[in-house]
């Protein structure tokens, strides 16, 4: 296949796929809309295969570490056992019930779920240390950031309004007025940015995602 085609085929497909989906929003033709609903499922099914690439490369990295007895190889072993153990439980032993199989659910609920919420909860510590570090009255702008953060933080604490009854409304004002304005301005900007980016990608001008020189 020619080089030109190799270069252009992906761009043509991108363009067609994008236009199909955009058209679905603006034209209410039942048959067409149904086709697009199926198209989205098509794309999701096709995209699913990429999971194997991720799994493959990760497995390769850790098998290599394991076989070379690199530092921390036992962690690689643990990773591979966890990966393939759960995978086999879900797919082979799962009797077609996948995640609903009791053995799967046991490991999922007692390992996966607590790990997930524990990592998430680390944010509590980090938000405290980040606040301590970042909120210094270095400049006028930083002071504004600091004050609005502190006011909202007290205002949103369950005890806040009990300390000072006007805090509730002041917090609401900050959230309703400057916060709304700032977020809305950014949102409008992002909408235009996405539109412009979309046009660039659909017309094949922005190809950074295909690699430099693609």
């Amino acid at each position: 296949m020619s080089v030109a085609m190799r270069r252009n085929l992906p761009l043509v497909i991108t363009f067609i796929a994008g236009m199909l989906v955009i058209g679905d929003y603006y034209f209410k033709v039942p048959d067409y809309n149904k086709l697009i609903a199926d198209w989205l499922k098509f794309v999701n099914v096709a995209a699913t295969f990429a999971v194997v690439i991720g799994m493959g490369t990760l497995t390769r990295i850790h098998v290599r570490r394991l076989s070379q007895h690199k530092q921390g190889w036992h962690n690689s072993l643990a990773l591979l056992i966890a990966l393939y153990g759960l995978l086999i439980t879900g797919l082979v032993l799962g009797e077609g019930r996948f995640t609903e199989h009791p053995t799967y659910a046991y490991w999922f609920n007692n390992l996966y779920v607590p790990l997930d919420s524990t990592i998430f909860s680390m944010l509590a510590f980090y938000i405290a240390s980040a606040a301590y570090r970042a909120f210094r009255a270095r400049s006028a702008e930083a002071t504004v950031l600091l004050i609005s953060a502190v006011v909202v933080m007290i205002g949103r604490a369950p005890i806040g309004p009990a300390l000072w009854s006007d805090l509730g409304p002041i917090t609401s004002w900050i959230m309703a007025v400057p916060n709304t304005a700032g977020i809305r301005g950014i949102t409008i900007g992002v909408a235009l940015g996405v539109l412009s980016m979309g046009v660039r990608v659909l017309l094949g001008r922005e190809r950074g995602y295909l690699g430099p020189g693609a």
Partner: protein, 279 residues
């Protein structure tokens, strides 16, 4: 370096340890600090309060286990409130990991889920609806075709209350317990905009500011985070609902105060350093 000078650069580990203590102590020994009331929570309560017996309400689990501590109390309280008002509840979820919480809430509030004598008559759990926003659009157009079976595998035709529920038009109220995508904006685009349906939501506190811009025009009531849920529990006390959020609220208040104290200390240290040098 003097003690005050050190305030500028405290080892983060000291902050972590203090935070750990400040949160565990009230959980072991509750203090009973007061709880305030936000207007958004009141609106949320008022909307549910207006439900008449027999009104069909859809409640969607759009969160996962990670935000369960924050979202589940609101889920449970909302189910209790709807049950008290005699609503016909259609439970479902667009997050696969979130749907089990619907089942759990039914069990904890109504005593049982699929084995309940009124299951299929007063409430159903349609389970996970895949494909995010696309799925929402499909569900709005045709409920029966999108959810052919409920969470427990019963065909939708075998559930008496689903007989008259064909599309998004047949609902009186939409409640999404949301924490990300798909969540509020998707529901607004696919349901609220299409059917003019009254919509209320319980959110994680972090997604709340982004959603507030829709209040009150598109979203009629918001429960914001755990504090919102605690306020809602207070309002529900008149129905005899027993909440669990008072001790966590103590921990919450204290942790906020701790963070503020650290910010103040940091700034004192910073100011001393800055003006100390100036001399």
């Amino acid at each position: 370096m003097s003690f005050l000078g050190k305030l500028e650069r405290v080892d983060p580990r000291a902050i972590y340890l203090l935070l750990f203590l400040v949160i565990s102590i009230p959980l072991i020994r509750p203090i009973g600090l007061p709880i305030s009331m936000s207007p958004m929570t009141i609106s949320y309560y008022d909307v549910v309060e207006k439900i008449k017996p027999g009104d069909v309400v859809v409640i969607s689990m759009d969160y996962g286990p990670a935000s369960m501590p924050e979202q589940y109390p609101a889920t449970k309280a909302t189910v209790a409130h709807m049950a008290a008002k005699g609503a016909k509840i259609v439970g479902l979820g667009f997050w696969a990991d979130g749907v089990p919480f619907m089942d759990r809430a039914f069990k904890e509030i109504l005593g049982a889920s699929k084995d309940h004598p009124k299951y299929g008559i007063d409430f159903v759990n349609l389970g996970w609806v895949p494909n995010g926003e696309v799925g929402m659009a499909a569900l709005g157009k045709d409920v029966q075709a999108t959810c052919t079976k409920d969470y427990y595998g019963t065909p939708i035709g075998a559930l008496p209350m689903m007989k008259d529920i064909k599309s998004g038009k047949d609902f009186k109220l939409l409640i999404t317990i949301a924490s990300g995508t798909p969540g509020v904006p998707e529901w607004l685009r696919q349901w609220q905009a299409q059917f003019g349906l009254t919509t209320i939501t319980a959110l994680t506190a972090v997604s709340a500011p982004g959603v507030r811009v829709y209040f009150p025009a598109q979203i009629a009531g918001i429960i914001e985070g755990l504090a919102g849920a605690a306020e809602y529990e207070v309002l529900l006390a008149r129905y005899g609902y027993k909440g669990t959020l008072a001790p966590p609220m103590d921990a919450q208040s204290l942790s906020h105060l701790l963070v503020i104290i650290f910010i103040v200390l940091g700034n004192v240290g910073f100011a001393l350093k800055k003006y100390g040098k100036g001399k």
